[in-house]
Amino acid sequence: MERADVQHQDDAALLAVRGLNKRFGNVVACHDINFELRRGEILGIVGESGSGKTTLLRCMAGQIDPDAGQVVFNSRRHGVKDIFALSEQDRRRISREEWGYVHQNPRDGLRMRVSGGANVAEPLMMNGQRHYGQMRELTLEWFEKVELDIARIDNKPRTFSGGMQQRLQIARNLIHSPSLVFMDEPTGGLDVSVQARLLDLMRLLVRDMGLAAIIVTHDIAVARLLADRLMVMKSGEVVEHGLTDQVLDDPQHGYTQLLVSSVLQI
């Protein structure tokens, strides 16, 4: 019986969003959003500024309460549960143990007053690791994985370049082996060569770890490189949803066609 239960949970989607609505006063940020995400899958959410992408992401990550709808997450600790039906304490624990959240601006996601190494090790301490030597070892490993110079492990993040800060933030969000990572414009604000290397790195890490990820971006190229599936948002609604290649090569909705044709060519 127990086995069957576990089996059932493994089969369930990792994350399911059902009928999610969020408005700010008269502004509809998200209207009736429905989708599922499975383990190891990478979903890209594209759309122009103000289309509700980030609001949707923050609702899914439990950072803001939606007005209606469910965000059902298949957690190691609680099984398949609507995260808003859980207590705040449990929601924070899921967020700490099983999620990562990469901000567009690394300064929002890093603690600027403590060293880079401490930033990367923080999730371990948050999850109860109390052995300095082990943490240090793992932190060094992750510095190498994200191609940061291990000699700079004790430097403050402000002495790092933008690209390095972003890699620091990625290491910090992956070190505790989350099952789902939310990324909000992870390559925004970086120059293209740094962007390309970061994308390469992210693709490698995410594939290696079998992570599920939701990547919000306005950059179609980023979506094409990383995402298995694509959701196109406009004015708070999902206007198109499908496999990345399918959506980009054969866009059906007028807005998606505009988006794809607007990509700059060299």
Partner: protein
């Protein structure tokens, strides 16, 4: 040093300066603090006749608990004869009409900022701390809403970040004062800026410890016989400061020492920071390598000066 009783002019102030309603309010906060060891209870801090940062929290706590039969001791940096300690002691001698003392064993209420006296505390004694920043997580998390949630949900991983930084930078947990502790295995607490040397004295103490933060408007407590554990890593266990030198005046090997620079050539001496402990030992005939030094003389002069007042 002799116990002295100062007479006040009756009627100029309410007993112990604060009005009775305020004292009741503070006592309610203290009761709650004692009931939930380590939990920061908000209270309506009052304007005091000294500026914030000079011990307004501790003074208000003392004012609310002090009675006519109490014997009051006040120390600053461990010493009874520093300016701040002398003026706060005289304040309560005047407005509460209580006996004051410099001997730890004789005191019923001991107000302090930086030290817990060397002499072991007894049942019935109350330590009152003047706390500048009651929130141990504040340096890492500036949002009060967030730190409250962390306390509520016992999310204290963040505090280890400061220990990590310390080990990374110095190869050991270097924090010297205000070293974070876990009270009764539940609430994370800042023991105010006492040196970590004094942290073990809080653990299973016979005395009641009350912490008052005037500017931050918080009161918290460690009741007698409560577990107090200093945070550490498994591979970097908590330890306290120690000195190679003995006290230059009284020869005490295991007390907390202040380093005193004596001249421009770098001559220095180490003396007990607890002046009452040191003079008790000297009275008992102990002598350190620099016994009879002019500083030894100086403290005796200062004590005489105060007696003369």
């Amino acid at each position: 040093m002799t116990t002295q009783t100062n007479r006040m002019q009756h009627g100029a102030y309410n007993h112990a300066y604060l009005d009775e309603q305020t004292k009741r309010m503070i006592r309610r906060a203290i009761l709650k603090a004692v009931a939930i060891p380590g939990y920061q209870v908000p209270f309506g801090s009052r304007e005091m006749p000294v500026p914030y940062g000079w011990g307004t929290g501790g003074i208000q706590v003392t004012a609310s608990i002090i009675g006519q039969d109490d014997v009051y001791k006040c120390i600053d940096q461990g010493a009874d004869d520093t300016t701040n300690a002398v003026s706060i002691r005289r304040f309560f001698a005047r407005v509460a009409d209580v006996a004051t003392t410099e001997r730890t064993a004789e005191a019923t209420i001991i107000q302090t900022r930086h030290r817990i006296p060397e002499a072991p505390l007894k049942e019935g004694q109350i330590m009152v701390y003047q706390v500048p920043q009651p929130e141990p997580l504040r340096g890492l998390e500036p949002r009060e809403t967030e730190t409250r949630a962390m306390h509520a949900y016992e999310e204290y991983g963040l505090q280890y970040l400061s220990l990590y930084e310390s080990v990374a930078a110095f190869g050991r947990i270097a924090g010297g004062a205000g070293y974070p502790v876990l009270v009764d295995e539940r609430y994370l607490m800042s023991p105010s800026p006492i040196p970590k040397f004094d942290n073990p004295k809080l653990h299973q103490s016979e005395a009641l410890h009350l912490f008052g933060a005037g500017r931050e408007k918080r009161i918290y407590a460690v009741p007698p016989h409560t577990d107090v554990r200093s945070l550490d890593f498994e591979d970097y266990p908590f330890d306290v400061q120690s000195w190679d030198e003995v006290c230059a005046l009284c020869g005490c090997p295991d007390s907390y020492k202040d380093e005193v620079i004596l001249d421009d050539e770098g001559t220095r001496m180490f003396v007990c920071s607890d002046s009452s402990h040191c003079s008790d030992r000297r009275d008992a005939g102990h002598a350190g390598p620099m016994a009879g030094h002019e500083l030894d003389q100086g403290s005796a002069d200062a004590a005489n000066l105060e007696d003369a007042e």
